[in-house]
């Protein structure tokens, strides 16, 4: 199989340190991965190409790059599946993190955020002599998260991190969930309330915009966004509702359950809190712009037709009948 690797290169030591594209034609065996192709370039053509790689089997998390614009492991992607109709595979370094050289990025921001969630088990009770008793289901559920290999693909393509570097991000939040969902962590009921409190702060679980990009790109099926949503459920169940994110979720549900659709004005007021005048005033420019463009939501929010059906649905969701 003949393919052309189109690689985004960067050498900070060159005279003009800017990134540039370079193309390498390579001959590959049928089952070759994109990593095999990159290694072939490095070993046989151009040893100056820098990339991280090690295990070749999707377990060490070293070789996350962007392939044709989307983050993933080079060792997991077959070259035959990555080529376009002209036989070209586009390889770039992962996003969000600063490039050090070629396909190598600086993972410091990534690890700093992992550290921020205090990523180690913190049981409150006394340690048992033998193992902690726990259901196999609970451990299998956690294994779905601990199978994260910290490759950074989710962080690379996170649309929030792209604009807000303070966001904890999908990898660190999934890591946090690995503890909050662990029956051994936290109090005797397995509730990790202190963790959830911290994670409810600004830059935490409520800053995810649910774009699903991290779920798409994760090579291990960890589904970080789903874990973030589960964190939100845990936080609200633990009574951590005094924050914009939680109020927003509640107001959203209430509005739809009541009128069948979203009351955007009320949503704003309820999210920041009706008494929070400074925050509400902060929305004034947005409101004025919306008004000028005829996009202001109606002041009087009417229910949709046949709203009774929606209300019944909402009641059922709130209080499901036993099976």
């Amino acid at each position: 199989m003949e393919v052309t690797l189109r690689i985004r290169r960067y050498d900070p030591e060159s005279n003009r340190p800017e990134s540039y594209w370079e193309e390498f034609p390579v001959s590959l065996e049928g089952n070759a991965t994109v990593l095999d192709a990159l290694i072939k370039v490095r070993e046989e053509v151009d040893g100056t190409l820098s990339l991280r790689c090690s295990c070749r089997s999707s377990i060490c998390g070293s070789c996350a790059v962007r392939i044709n614009g989307q983050a993933g492991l080079a060792c997991k992607m077959q070259a035959a599946d990555a080529v376009d109709s002209d036989g070209v595979i586009v390889v770039e370094p992962p996003g969000v993190m600063p490039v050090v050289k070629d396909l190598v990025v600086d993972f410091k921001p990534f690890w700093d955020k992992i550290r921020e969630v205090e990523p180690y088990l913190q049981p409150q009770g006394e340690e048992p002599e033998g193992e902690y008793l726990a259901s196999n289901e609970s451990m299998l559920h956690l294994s779905g998260v601990t199978s994260c290999i910290m490759c950074g693909a989710c962080v690379s393509d996170c649309t929030v991190l792209e604009v807000d570097p303070t966001f904890l991000g999908p990898a660190a939040l999934a890591k946090a969930y690995r503890f909050t969902a662990d029956p051994r962590d936290g109090d005797e009921e397995g509730v990790s309330k202190e963790r959830l409190e911290k994670l409810s702060e600004v830059t935490g679980m409520w800053d995810c915009t649910r774009c699903s990009e991290c779920v798409q790109v994760c090579p291990k099926g960890v589904a970080p966004m789903d874990r973030i949503m589960a964190l939100r459920d845990q936080a609200m169940e633990a009574g951590l509702t005094d924050n914009n994110g939680s109020r927003h979720a509640t107001a959203f549900t209430e509005s739809v359950a009541h009128s069948g659709w979203l009351d955007e004005l009320q949503l704003t007021v309820k999210s920041v809190g009706a008494g929070n005048v400074p925050a509400l005033l902060g929305f004034a420019p947005v409101g004025l712009r919306a008004l000028a463009r005829g996009k202001m939501p109606p002041i009087i929010h009417k229910s949709i037709e046949n709203v009774e059906g929606i209300r019944k649905l909402a009641e059922k969701l709130e209080d499901p009948e036993p099976e």
Partner: protein
């Protein structure tokens, strides 16, 4: 000046366990690794970790006997006793740290069967036990506050009057060379798999620590004992876990027959690894193969069990050769996987060099002897990692830092590296030298060996070392120069390759992983001893150490 009481080289399971123990023991501790800790190769251990838990009706002597028998009676029984006695505590420690082990119906740790053992005592997390443990150990490393030099490559040991007193290291990110002073050094650098091509091992597994220690005068032991794993994937040689057979998978020849009946009628597919690999190779050589492979059949296990317990290897089959093991058998063959030998240590990890320790795959205690049982390697890392960390921390209290000419040491190392970068282009390539080594080793030091073949490889290695001394490095830059790192690693690998070949050639019997067609039998009278190799004036020197026998008299192995 960078200096630490205890400097751990390598941040896999053994290294991090050692560092955490040393720090807990009150020592100023640092860990240095050429990759970030979670990229380490402990990740690749799939199947599980062995421990005999008393409350399951198991006992450590049974585990120890299985290990001794698995080692083909070459393992040192005192060391094996230490490992198996500590196993339960070490396992429970890992559970308390947070490892998400699979459970049984009562919510206790669940087990699976594994090769060479008479009962199920392998504890596991799906088929990614190593990764699950490595990440938890990294969590504990963060908690411990150990100083971590990540992506720093150790290029040499600093010695004054024979005393190891620090290391030189290349900060890969910047290309700067540093000296780090240390009272004690613990090698936890893992194996040397890439000396062979193909190998199940990750690309970073290049025997750095084994070669560094050897060049500093450490004794290497059992280096001829190279484990070929029975189930490595056709093509890339990536590992397919023994867990598949532990869960009940069959090995089939081209006619669909379970050929293990002929070789191990009782244990069948779960005989020890050396026995299964030899059986496969015998069948392949006899023409009962499918394109150089035999087949691993998991279909009867069912999709549900495969998804719960073998999901990672299923994924590997689909990703790398396009075969879903739920629907089709996968082609596998024996492939280089593990080195039983390594830097000779006592049960506290101490080598023959004062202040120098080793633990994990780079070490040889020797608990694996001629053949390691599956799921004993994870155990080895945490038991002897912890012991060496404890001992080094204590020893460091009695040791003073040794003064050396820091600038001179750094300048000399920088010059040595610069000389490599300045070599003129001669159209040779680092990768080509490495491939030559790997193929020669795989041709002549694999499952079956003989004198002529091994001598051929020793000749090849002489030529390759000559080429290595002149091979150019493409990348002349400083920042993240992986080309330079590969070139330095290749030097370590060539040293390791030679120690393997000379040890294997010296041992004139067949035992454990070493099967010589010219000496096909185990010869306890003459070869019930460890082959030791040290660096001499003109090359490797061979000597011998006795095997320690405590309670199990050597007998013929049958599975």
């Amino acid at each position: 000046m960078l200096e630490h009481d205890v400097l751990v080289i390598g941040a896999g399971l053994a290294g991090m366990r050692a560092a955490i123990a040393a720090k807990a023991g009150g020592a100023d501790t640092a860990i240095i690794s050429k990759v970030h800790p979670v990229r380490s190769h402990s990740n690749a251990a799939q199947g599980g970790i062995n421990a005999a838990l008393i409350d399951r009706g198991d006992n450590w002597e049974d585990h120890a006997y299985d290990t001794v028998k698995g080692s083909d009676f070459l393992g040192d029984q005192d060391a094996i006793e230490v490992m198996c006695q500590s196993a339960g505590t070490s396992l429970i420690d890992m559970e308390h740290m947070g490892v998400t082990f699979n459970r049984d119906d009562a919510g206790r740790l669940g087990t699976r069967a594994f090769g060479g053992q008479r009962r199920a005592r392998t504890f596991f997390v799906g088929d990614f036990t190593g990764q699950a443990m490595l990440h938890v150990m990294f969590e504990q490393l963060i908690k411990s506050g150990v100083r971590s030099y990540e992506e720093w490559f150790v290029t040499g040991l600093i010695q004054e009057d024979g005393q190891v007193c620090g290391v030189t290291a290349l900060e890969i990110r910047t290309g700067q060379v540093y000296a780090i002073r240390a009272k004690t050094v613990i090698f936890c650098t893992g194996g040397l798999g890439r000396v062979f091509e193909p190998s199940t091992n990750a690309l970073i597994v290049t025997g750095d620590g084994i070669a560094l220690a050897y060049n500093a005068g450490a004794r290497l032991m059992d280096m001829e004992m190279v484990q070929y794993h029975p189930t490595t994937l056709a093509g890339s040689g990536v590992l397919i876990s023994e867990a598949a057979r532990g869960e009940g998978a069959y090995l089939l020849d081209k006619n669909g027959d379970r050929f293990m009946e002929k070789y191990a009628p009782n244990m069948m597919e779960l005989a020890s690894r050396d026995v299964v690999s030899r059986a496969e190779q015998t069948e392949i050589n006899a023409g009962n193969d499918v394109d150089g492979c035999v087949l691993l059949d998991c279909r009867h296990l069912g999709a549900e069990l495969i998804q719960e317990k073998l999901s990672q290897i299923r994924e590997i089959g689909i990703d790398l050769i396009g075969i879903d093991m739920v629907k089709q058998p996968i082609p596998i063959r024996p492939g280089m996987h593990y080195i039983m030998g390594g830097i000779k240590t006592d049960v506290d990890g101490l080598t023959n060099l004062p202040g120098v320790y080793a633990a994990g795959e780079c070490a040889c205690v020797s608990v694996h002897g001629g053949n390691r049982l599956g799921a004993n390697s994870l155990l080895d890392t945490i038991v002897f990692g912890e012991r060496s960390g404890n001992h080094a921390a204590q020893a460091a209290r009695e040791i003073e830092y040794v003064d050396f000419d820091v600038d001179g040491v750094v300048d000399r190392e920088r010059e040595r590296i610069q000389d490599m970068l300045d070599r003129p282009n001669n159209d040779d390539r680092v990768a080509s030298v490495r491939l030559g080594m790997g193929q020669s080793m795989n041709a002549n030091l694999a499952v079956y060996r003989n004198q002529a073949g091994m001598q051929e490889t020793l000749g090849d290695l002489d030529e390759l070392r000559e080429r290595y001394s002149k091979v150019p490095v493409d990348n002349k830059g400083r920042v993240f120069n992986t080309d330079l790192v590969f070139a330095l690693e290749l030097g370590f690998m060539l040293d390791c390759a030679q120690t393997i070949a000379v040890s294997a050639l010296d041992r004139q019997d067949s035992r454990g992983a070493q099967s010589r067609t010219d000496f096909p039998n185990r010869d306890d009278e003459n070869w019930m001893k460890h082959v030791v190799v040290t660096k001499g004036e003109g090359g490797p020197d061979i000597s011998y150490l006795p095997v320690t026998v405590t309670q199990w008299t050597p007998e013929e192995r049958k599975y």
